[in-house]
Symmetry: none
Subunit: 249 residues, 2 copies
C-alpha cells in the first residue's frame, strides 16, 4: 500500500467517523503506530486534520470541510460496530442488512481480511466497491422507494440460493416475548428470509430500542444467536435475552 493511499484512507476514516485512534488505524492499515503518528503529523501539518492525544479529529477550519454524514446516534453505533467487527474471520461469508451501523462496521474490517459480503443495500455495496479484498454480491430486486435497498420477492428468491456464516441485521425493535418487529412489511419479509440464509444471526440494536414493538413480525428471539448493543453485556435490560440463551456482546 502506497503512503498516499494510506493517508487518503485516514482522511476518509476521519470524514466518516469524525475522529480516529492511532491504535485502531494501526490495526486497520497493518502498519506500526509510529507510522500512523507520522502520517497524522504530516496531515496535520498540511492543515487537513487536527492532531490530538491518541489520534486525530476533523479540522473544523480545514480548507476542505468534511461533509458530516448524518447517522443518528452515531457515537452509540460506533461502539456497536466495533464490537461486531471483532466477530469477523478471514474467509467468511457475511450477510448484511441495514445502512447505518453496517456502514460504520465496514471501516473496522482490516485491509488484509478476505470476505464475501452479501447485501441488499445500495449504499453498503457502493462503499464496499472500493475494498479490493472483499467480494461484494448485491442481492438483486426491486428497489424500495423508502430506502435505497432492494426488497421483496426477488431478494427472497436470491437468498434461497445462498448461505452465509454470519448475518448482521440492524433492528429497530426487539421485545423479549414478541421478538423482532419492523415498521415496513416488505422489509420484515425480507429480513425474515435472511434469517434462513445464515448459520448465525447477530442482531445489532441501540439500547433504547429494546422492549419496543412495531407492526410487522420478523422473527422470535429464539432465532437470534447474539445481540450487540452499545451497552456493556451485563446491562440490566439484556438479562431477559441472555436468560433465553442469546449471547450478548
Amino acid at each position: 500500500m502506497l503512503k498516499v493511499e494510506r493517508q487518503n484512507a485516514i482522511l476518509q476514516e476521519i470524514r466518516t467517523h469524525n475522529k480516529v485512534h492511532s491504535s485502531k488505524l494501526s490495526q486497520l492499515l497493518n502498519v506500526s503506530e509510529d507510522t500512523i503518528r507520522r502520517d497524522l503529523r504530516e496531515l496535520a501539518g498540511n492543515g487537513h486534520i487536527k492532531k490530538v492525544h491518541g489520534g486525530a479529529m476533523a479540522n473544523p477550519n480545514s480548507p476542505e470541510s468534511f461533509r458530516k454524514q448524518k447517522i443518528s446516534q452515531q457515537a452509540e453505533r460506533e461502539i456497536i460496530a466495533e464490537k461486531a467487527a471483532s466477530l469477523f474471520q478471514s474467509g467468511q461469508v457475511i450477510l448484511m442488512e441495514g445502512e447505518s451501523t453496517n456502514l460504520l462496521l465496514v471501516d473496522y474490517i482490516p485491509d488484509d481480511m478476505t470476505l464475501t459480503i452479501f447485501t441488499n443495500s445500495l449504499r453498503l455495496a457502493t462503499k464496499l466497491f472500493n475494498y479490493q479484498n472483499i467480494e461484494t454480491v448485491l442481492l438483486g430486486g426491486k428497489i424500495s422507494h423508502k430506502y435505497p435497498m432492494t426488497l421483496g420477492i426477488d431478494v427472497i428468491n436470491a437468498l434461497g440460493e445462498i448461505h452465509a456464516d454470519l448475518f448482521f441485521t440492524e433492528i429497530d425493535s426487539i421485545h423479549e416475548d414478541i421478538g423482532i418487529t419492523d415498521g415496513d412489511r416488505e422489509n420484515a419479509y425480507t429480513k425474515k428470509a435472511m434469517f434462513r440464509s445464515s448459520s448465525q444471526v447477530i442482531a445489532m440494536c441501540l439500547s433504547n430500542e429494546i422492549g419496543t414493538i412495531q407492526p410487522f413480525k420478523v422473527e422470535s428471539v429464539s432465532q437470534i444467536h447474539m445481540i450487540i448493543t452499545e451497552e456493556s453485556p451485563d446491562h440490566h435490560q439484556l438479562n431477559r435475552f441472555s436468560n433465553k440463551g442469546v449471547q450478548i456482546l
Copy 2:
C-alpha cells in the same frame, strides 16, 4: 513493446485502479523498475499523473484528467441523452447498461412518465431511487472491482428471467464488420446477455468511437436496432451502418 504503448498501458492501469506500484508495473510489463520510473517521471512531467514514492496516482488536477475527459465529452453525451429520451413511452420496460450517458439520460425523463427500469449499475440505481414514478430493479450479482456495477453469471441468470422493450447500452467501440467490442471480458459477456433480453437494442456511442475495436466481442451490428451519436443522422461515418439496416437517430 513500444515506449508509447507501455506508457498507455500505465495510464490505462491508473485509469482503472487509480494507482500503480512501480514494482508491479515492472513485473507486468517486463521491464526494469528504472524504465518504469522514467516513464512515470515523463508522464508526471506532462501533468498526466501524480508521481508518489512507490508508484503513481491519478492526478485530480490534470488538465486532461480522465475524469475531466469524461466531463469534457459531457456536452456530446447530453445531446445523445436527449435524443435517447425521446424514445421513452409511459408503461415501457427499459434495460439500461452504462453509467455515463445513461446517468444523464434519466434527467430527461418527464416527471409523469411511468417506467420500469432494469439495470446493473449501482450509480444509476441510486439515482433512480429518488424517482417516484419509476420502478427500478437492480440485477443482482457480484460487484466488479473495476466499475460500480454487477457483472457475471448472476446477472446473466437474472437477465434470463426478464424481457424489456428497449435496451440502452453505452458502447465504447463499434466497427461495421467486427461489431460491438469491449475492453473487459465479463462486461462483454454481460452485455451480450442483455441483447437477448430486449426487443429493441439502442446503442449510444460517441462519434470518435466509431470504427474502433477492442479485444472482446459483444455482438455484431445486425443485432442493433438503432445507433445514437452526438452527430446528425446523415453524418458520413454513419452511412455504413444505415446501409446495414440500422436506424440512426
